[in-house]
């Protein structure tokens, strides 16, 4: 399985990954933009509006009918944030010819429909339909407002929002509520036309069709794409240090039965030349998975929480520790999380712990090659980072990470902000950490 990259048109790249393992093929298209508060909500809204109807298939029913005809081809809007690059577009999955009656191949009609969705939306007077824009904007607003429903992810979101308050990263992948509310169909159409001309586009295909066929189908589908001056200066600003000398503390009160503690770290100087394998293994040893320090000690041994795990963002250079606790366990849980990090900094990592972390990371990377969705995400991130390592190669690197590598990363971490979601409706402001 070898990936090949081709520039189909100026700034339009295809990553082609041949594979005969799957029953379905996958095709994705992402418009890449610099994440910013002004445009994030508009960018996020675009694929949802486009997904409402094309010039030929004018509404959802007509589109869904077409997708049913194409044997349940699924085309889903996808909005992601990789570092400070916002990726919006579509993820398409469709059955391979080998499993369809009469061996019908739907690659060409599927690519063509994807092209239509991107380039020939349902319009009136050259403008996106106000009805579609308004209703999708309201739905996006619901999602943005609905962040509060799921408390575990809400607490993570809030920690990042406060921690990165001076960076575009705080915006979140869907943009802010106020900016979303202000979206109007004329303004959105103008923005959409500009994106088509200027933004880099990443395509990904994984399946059984020969490369030539895929390139030809996609080139034909994208013929009407207007290309202007491509915005190739997009990227992520990585902050190495905490914002203030002491970790900031933010507390919020909501009507919840369980407290949520999130501790935000900058990965620090190790991000100058990020070593992905070591970062992953460090994260596994510290807080990801059931052999990690946080799981074994904070959850199992001391029963301080229901869950405690760490999440790594290698693109932005962040690590977040997230845990669910009883309200009165706040101090004890926090102290123990820092104690576990301190232990790693001093090299307290047994051979078994290191081996478990390495094999966990390697196993995750190997199994990623069995899922098209994960392969797509992996190679999109790689296309943005410009690094050329396959998941299997990275798995091998992970298996050779040493204790010193892990300790070096632990020492590079710098705590920036502590966030606590507690119970009650009282007004609580920001206060300094003790």
């Amino acid at each position: 399985m070898e990936l090949s990259r081709t520039e189909l048109m100026p700034g339009v790249w295809l990553s082609y990954l041949p594979s005969k393992k799957f029953k379905t093929a996958c095709l994705s298209l992402s418009l890449l933009t610099q994440l910013s508060r002004e445009t994030a909500a508009m960018n996020a809204l675009i694929p949802y509006v486009l997904r409402r109807g094309t010039a030929r298939y004018g509404d959802m029913e007509a589109l869904s009918t077409r997708l049913d005809e194409l044997y349940g081809t699924a085309i889903e809007p996808v909005v992601r944030r990789i570092g400070e690059i916002q990726c919006t577009g579509f993820y398409v999955s469709f059955p391979e010819a080998a499993f369809l009656p009469g061996g019908q191949d739907v690659l060409r009609p599927v690519a063509s429909l994807l092209g239509e969705l991107l380039l020939s939306p349902a319009t009136r007077g050259g403008l996106l339909l106000p009805g579609y824009v308004d209703s999708e904007r309201e739905k996006l607003l619901d999602i943005i407002r609905g962040r509060i429903n799921e408390k575990r992810s809400y607490a993570l979101f809030r920690c990042i929002e406060e921690m990165c308050c001076c960076e575009d990263f705080a915006v979140g992948r869907l943009g802010g509520e106020a900016e979303c509310q202000a979206i109007h169909y004329q303004k959105l159409t103008k923005h959409y036309r500009k994106l088509l001309q200027t933004c880099p586009i990443e395509l990904f295909y994984c399946g059984r069709a020969p490369e030539k066929q895929v390139i030809s189908a996609l080139k034909d589908a994208l013929v009407p794409l207007p290309r202007g001056e491509i915005d190739d200066g997009i990227g992520t600003e990585i902050r190495m240090n905490a914002l203030e000398a002491q970790p900031r503390f933010v507390e919020e009160a909501l009507d919840v039965a369980q407290g949520k503690l999130v501790i935000g770290f900058r990965l620090g100087e190790c991000m100058e030349e990020p070593d992905l394998a070591s970062l992953y293994v460090f994260n596994a040893a510290f807080g990801a998975g059931t052999t990690s320090k946080l799981f074994v000690n904070v959850r199992e041994k001391l029963s301080l929480c229901y869950y405690a795990s760490s999440l790594l963002d290698v693109h932005k250079g962040l690590l977040l520790v997230s845990s669910g606790i009883e309200f009165d366990k706040f101090e004890a849980a926090k102290a123990e999380i820092f104690a576990q990090l301190e232990a790693l900094r001093h090299g307290d990592l047994t051979k078994e712990e290191l081996a478990a972390a390495r094999s966990g990371v390697a196993s995750d990377l190997r199994s990623l090659t069995d899922s098209q969705g994960e392969l797509e995400g992996y190679y999109l991130a790689q296309a943005l980072d410009g690094d050329g390592c396959s998941p299997l190669e990275l798995a091998e690197l992970a298996e050779n990470v040493t204790k010193e590598d892990v300790v070096r990363i632990a020492n590079s971490l710098e705590c920036d902000l502590i966030y606590f979601l507690k119970n009650g409706g009282e007004q609580e402001g920001e206060s300094d950490a003790e």
């Binding site: 029913e61 005809e69 349940g72 059931t290 094999s359 069995d370």
Partner: protein, 427 residues
């Protein structure tokens, strides 16, 4: 082992029943790095009352789930979850109303991991201390569920639909019910439900089926026990016990589930009924249905709207739901649409397209090892083979689906559970 080929979907299934009664299925997958194994027992949250060795045993709500948590403790003091993780596997378990599954996915040392899975699930080890400690951990889990609108809306619906069937109660139980669990309760339930004759093992990956058979033989108890008989109480009538339930929680927009209970088919009709149920719901409310398109355009439904037919512990429940500013209006529209379909029948062309789409969705489902293995396991307990679905689909008719909707989603059969927002002023 017996093998059966499924050329239409490019799979071969190997099956066997071991002398101890364990049902075994293996799906070999050449060229994949991952292995997946699920070891499951025909035992879930709803199996509260059962007959064991001639006596009736009553257990508190939440035992099956509690037992699942405690099974990972080994007499050596080790935790099986940690041992599997340390071996590079990704293990987990879940308990539903009707089934408990222990599974792992890995890329290395599969046989070692498989042996460990079989060993720890068939080795009960509980003490008063570990049970007490777990009561704290699960108590937290239950409290966390109390904050979850998804849990509340689901159980409120089951409470409307079912008069007494134990699936009404939360799988995890309540803080009070789990306080009544002792190490004795756990040993009894393990003895009753974790005998190989009440269990199945399903494996997918680049493996030799005969090797799996041999390993299961070596690791599991040899004797064949008589499986326990679960008692879910007298049969439920077709009508719900209540029509509407509303509750307020910290959500941003009203969430709703509309539901109806159906009588599960038996024998060789089981799989057919499930296919009919899914296809009928797709025709009624799928994303290409006129009903969904109209309500979506009116802003009454969003993309979260979904439906499912859930068959658990001798029950069958149809659920349609999502988020809407006007759930009761959605219910009225749904009733009207069902009445229209009853009167006019289903559009044949649209029906053929729905079958195509359903075939595509099934092919997509085959990509997930966990989906394949867990549906095979559920099929083994319920008397069908999940891999037969793609082939059987072709024979389902529009009339069958129309009749299904008419009967099971008649207005008097429906109930609606709604979670309304409370004032969630952010502070």
């Amino acid at each position: 082992m017996q093998s059966k080929q499924y050329p239409g979907i490019g799979e071969t299934l190997f099956s066997a029943v071991l002398p101890n009664g364990l049902q075994l299925q293996v799906v070999p997958k050449e060229g994949f790095s991952s292995y997946y194994a699920v070891f499951a027992t025909d035992y879930g949250g709803a199996h509260r009352r059962f007959v064991l060795d001639g006596r009736t045993v009553d257990t508190p709500a939440g035992v099956a789930h509690f037992l699942e948590h405690k099974m990972f403790d080994l007499p050596s003091g080790d935790n099986a979850l940690n041992l599997l993780s340390a071996n590079g596997a990704d293990p987990n378990a879940f308990t539903s109303g009707g089934i408990t599954c222990y599974y792992f996915q890995c890329t290395d040392r599969f046989e070692e991991n498989l042996r460990l899975l079989l060993h720890f699930v068939s080795t009960p080890y509980f003490t008063a201390e570990t049970v007490q400690k777990e009561q704290g951990i699960i108590g937290q889990e239950i409290r966390m569920g109390d904050d979850d609108p998804g849990t509340a809306i689901y159980y409120n619906l089951l409470g409307l639909l079912y008069a007494h069937h134990p699936i009404r109660d939360k799988v995890a139980g309540t803080v009070e019910s789990i306080a009544r669990i002792t190490d004795r309760t756990l040993y009894d339930c393990h003895k009753a439900f974790y005998a190989p004759s009440n269990m199945c093992l399903v494996v997918e990956g680049d493996v030799d089926p005969e090797r799996i058979f041999a390993i299961a033989q070596e690791e599991l108890p040899q004797e064949k026990a008589e499986p326990p008989k679960a008692d879910f109480g007298p049969p439920e009538g077709p009508l719900p016990v209540g029509a509407v339930r509303r509750e307020a929680m910290a959500v941003s927009a009203p969430q709703f589930y509309i539901g109806a209970k159906i009588v599960p088919a038996v024998g060789d009709r089981v799989l057919r009924q499930r296919l009919v149920a899914q296809l009928a719901l797709r025709m009624l409310a799928g994303h290409s249905s006129p009903f969904y398109a109209r309500l979506y355009a009116q802003g009454l439904l969003n993309r979260d709207f979904d439906y499912e037919a859930d068959f658990t512990a001798g029950t069958g429940t149809l659920i349609l739901g999502g988020e809407s500013a006007e759930p009761l209006q959605v219910l009225e529209e749904l009733k009207r649409e069902v009445a229209r379909i009853c009167a006019e029948g289903l559009d044949e062309k649209r029906f053929e397209r729905a079958k195509r789409a359903s075939l595509g969705a099934r092919l997509r489902g085959l990509e997930d090892f966990d989906n394949v293995c867990i549906s095979l396991a559920m099929g083994l307990f319920d008397g069908y083979c999940a891999l037969d679905a793609a082939g059987l689909l072709e024979s389902v008719t529009a009339e069958e689906c129309r009749a299904f909707l008419c009967e099971n989603l008649a207005p008097e059969r429906l109930a609606i559970s709604i979670i309304d927002p409370i004032d969630t002023k952010r502070t």
